[in-house]
């Protein structure tokens, strides 16, 4: 498929190579039992800890979204529904379960049975069910890291201690399961790598404050997120983000944006409709509307406001990341605040809220969010519904209609309103 809109620099090829190398490692693990693998959730993942064992993460969400983008998610979803899952269960879970049942993988290679299924519970109750069910299905050991939810502005001492203790218990568990000793130095180095990757990633995010933005902080950010979750704690990750920053910086310095003319600047809330990723993107491209910030790109971690892992406090900073520095474990009003900050500091014209039926964590209450932005702050906000994995919930004509109408109104408002101060 030809593509006029999105930026295709060398980082896209590098990203692809990195991700394929990751799947190769998983394939090797499936065939030889080495390296050890740990299944984890993207949100607030503690990939640094795995480095201390030379273990490789498996991210079921990445597998699920890869399938959806390749239009292969419906079969496994249906297989899971045959088992008794409801139409209204999270389709990520159903796709993953269906894949395990049918041995489907996104690359066609093999996926190993994880050495450990590590449920990093960060506010998503569905994660608990998901990993509980896959552990049952795969007969793999399960451990839960219970991360206290952000019910206050900052985590308490007790919150952090609780998570640190559980991280140490996880280390013991992994020592038993892998027969390897936890390498503290390597762990510290991993945390150090993460802090550097995060700094680079944050700088990339801040490039989108320029007008025009050199990349789309929703659609293009997703390309960069794979390496962020799999590689940020490794030197390859640091190298990748160095290259990405240099490339985007150069593009921006040359005055180039995502579109010939950047007509609208948006903040995107919610995961994308992966089964119609391209179609959805085109609906915005048509209006030369560029996402300058997105909450979805902070699921794995929220770094653009300054947080970094700290090699001097490796366990505490991993705990802090899991508790306070990823969008899923932050409370709903903190998400409002995050978006508000994007609108102001990234100078956006409006907010797009994409409700995904699968994910109540993201979506429950987004009508109230819309109410807050339109009525309290006067920010133009569009609310649309579909799903991140299940192709049956995307209504192309309706979605397009709403997006077109939103931009027609925004166009009129921009044409008549005084220039923003």
């Amino acid at each position: 498929m030809s593509d006029k809109k999105e930026y295709r620099g060398s980082i896209h090829q590098q990203q692809k190579n990195l991700m394929l190398a990751w799947y190769d490692q998983l394939d090797r693990a499936a065939n030889t039992g080495d390296p050890p693998t740990v299944s984890m959730m993207i949100s607030g993942n503690c990939v640094e800890l795995l480095e201390g064992f030379g273990a490789v993460p498996i991210y079921p969400e990445v597998n699920a979204l890869q399938l959806a983008i390749r239009h292969q998610s419906l079969d496994p979803i249906l297989a899971a529904e045959d088992l008794g899952y409801a139409a209204d269960n999270c389709a990520y879970v159903k796709a993953d379960i269906g894949c395990i049942l049918k041995g489907i993988t996104p690359t066609g290679g093999k996926l190993p049975t994880p050495t450990l299924i590590l449920c990093n519970f960060v506010g998503c109750n569905t994660y608990l069910k998901w990993f509980e069910h896959t552990a049952k299905l795969q007969k793999a050991p399960l451990y839960v890291i219970d991360v206290p939810f952000m019910r206050a502005d900052t985590p308490s001492r007790s919150d952090v201690e609780y998570v640190v203790k559980q991280l140490q218990e996880t280390v013991k568990k992994l020592e038993q399961l892998t027969g390897r000793k936890f390498d503290h130095d390597r762990f510290r180095q991993a945390v150090e790598c993460s802090s550097r990757s995060e700094e680079l990633w944050s700088q990339i995010k801040h490039l989108a404050r320029r007008s025009p933005s050199p990349f789309d902080a929703y659609f293009d950010a997703i390309t960069l997120m794979g390496p962020l979750y799999v590689y940020r704690a490794r030197p390859e990750g640091v190298e990748f983000f160095e290259a990405a920053l240099a490339e985007l910086q150069a593009k921006s310095d040359a005055g180039k944006g995502v579109y010939e003319q950047e007509h609208f600047r948006l903040v995107m809330e919610g995961p994308p409709p992966y089964p119609y990723f391209r179609t959805f993107r085109d609906m915005f491209a048509k209006w030369q509307a560029c996402a300058v910030a997105s909450t979805y790109s902070t699921v794995g971690g929220l770094w653009e406001f300054g947080f970094r892992h700290d090699p001097d406090k490796p366990f505490e900073s991993v705990a802090m990341h899991m508790i306070a520095q990823n969008v899923t474990n932050r409370n709903f009003l903190q998400r409002y605040e995050q978006i508000r900050r994007y609108v102001e500091d990234w100078n956006a014209d409006g907010v797009i809220i994409h409700f995904v039926k699968s994910c109540r964590l993201f979506s429950a209450g987004q009508g109230d969010m819309r109410d807050y932005f339109t009525k309290q702050l006067g920010v133009p906000t569009l609310y649309i519904e579909s799903d991140l994995e299940d192709p049956r919930y995307f209504a192309e004509a309706q979605t397009k209609n709403r997006i077109d109408a939103f931009f027609e109104a925004l166009e009129h408002a921009k044409a008549t309103a005084p220039v923003r101060a």
């Binding site: 088992l83 409801a86 109750n125 839960v144 019910r151 429950a364 209450g365 009508g367 109230d368």
Partner: protein
């Protein structure tokens, strides 16, 4: 009309007469509502406040505002709870406590916080990792935090004696509930579930002392009644731990030829399988009990023992013939658990029927047909 039916009527009234009465009797007293499923009511009670379990608005409120905030694919109880707030029904309440049960309820907590800024709205993190030795200390600390908030709200200081005293009161209450459940398992003809349900659910609203008296009355009332054993199958109802089915639906299940011999209706009232210790540090005792004495539930995670084993044990203990899943529409925890439950029941040769309901329903013909067919299939098997 039995005394508990009168209480039930009073408790279902969205004007909250029982709450208002308590406030009249306790000038300056504060009322803390909690969202299902479980809340440490002892903390609220010990702070001199009235804990009230709000289980949605049933069929007594049209959703006219909350739909705009919560939209499609979200269960009714989340919407009716917010609707009550947006229509001024929650005026008698001074605070609202939520916990980690599901993602929708989690977000509701903070939507409430934004929309009702003068109310104390808090979120209790109940641990999901009981296998960690650190969980007990964490939960005790979390209880201490919430207690601190209550003390600030009520401008009071709560000591260990007051806490122990509250724990003892609720221990007594829960022991009576366990006794009633035992009586029903033994002689379901004496304890119709549509009645027991009302009696237990009143505990959400009534002061614990008052509710305990009603439970005691019931324990003398039920065994003495003259009831004939019907030709019914014995079933366990599972899945209505949060949003509650309409009372007519519970009646309908019984009329269709079922003895409900165990259930998880308003399960927060029946959360512990034994008494919480009243000696030692009360917050630690509460925390330990949450982790080690509580019943299984779709919203309490404990990987030391799978919930599906808990369900099969429940069926065996109550000598039930079958399980009826009564799942609230869009209740994701219940939808998820249905699969392993189903697999485990099939493995154990226990028949089951999955049904979906909404707290607000006015016609039940479709459900009636399904339940009757299920009963017939078991009887004429």
């Amino acid at each position: 009309m039995y005394f508990f039916e009168r209480s039930f009527d009073r408790c279902s009234d969205l004007g909250f007469p029982s709450v208002r009465k308590w406030k009249e009797q306790h000038p300056g007293g504060q009322v803390i509502a909690y969202f299902p499923v479980y809340a440490p009511v002892e903390l609220i009670h010990a702070a001199g406040m009235l804990p009230v379990g709000l289980s949605g608005a049933g069929d007594r409120l049209d959703i006219q505002h909350a739909d705009a905030r919560f939209g499609s694919f979200i269960c009714s109880i989340v919407k009716t709870t917010l609707e009550m707030g947006l229509t001024g029904h929650l005026e008698p309440f001074d605070g609202f406590l939520f916990s980690t049960i599901c993602d929708s309820a989690r977000n509701l907590c903070f939507v409430m916080k934004r929309n009702f800024p003068s109310m104390y709205v808090d979120f209790l993190h109940l641990p999901h990792n009981p296998s960690s030795p650190a969980a007990t200390q964490f939960l005790a600390e979390e209880y201490r935090r919430v207690l601190g908030e209550l003390e600030r709200l009520g401008n009071c200081k709560v000591n260990d004696d007051a806490l122990a005293c509250s724990i003892a009161l609720y221990n007594r209450n829960r022991a009576l509930i366990r006794e009633l459940y035992e009586l029903r398992r033994r002689s379901p003809e004496l304890v119709p579930t549509s009645e027991l349900y009302q009696l237990i659910r009143c505990g959400n609203f009534l002061p614990v002392e008052e509710h305990t008296t009603e439970l005691e009355q019931a324990l003398t009332h039920f065994p003495s009644r003259n009831a004939k054993k019907r030709d019914s199958i014995r079933i366990v109802v599972e899945g209505s731990f949060c949003e509650q089915p309409p009372l007519p639906l519970i009646r309908l299940i019984e009329e269709a030829g079922c003895y409900i011999v165990d259930d998880d209706f308003v399960i927060g009232q029946n959360w512990f399988d034994s008494d919480i210790p009243t000696d030692g540090d009360p917050l630690l005792a509460l925390a330990c009990s949450y982790l080690d004495r509580s019943v299984y539930s779709s919203v309490r995670h404990d990987f030391r023992k799978p919930r599906w084993e808990g369900l099969v044990e429940k069926v065996r203990r109550s000598k039930a013939d079958a399980v009826l899943f009564l799942i609230a529409k869009f209740c994701e925890p219940a939808y998820f658990d249905y699969v392993p439950y189903k697999q485990e029941l099939e493995g154990a040769g226990i028949p089951h029927l999955p049904l979906e309901f909404e707290e607000k329903s006015f016609t039940f013909d479709r459900l009636r047909t399904e339940i009757e067919t299920f009963v017939e299939s078991l009887i004429f098997d």
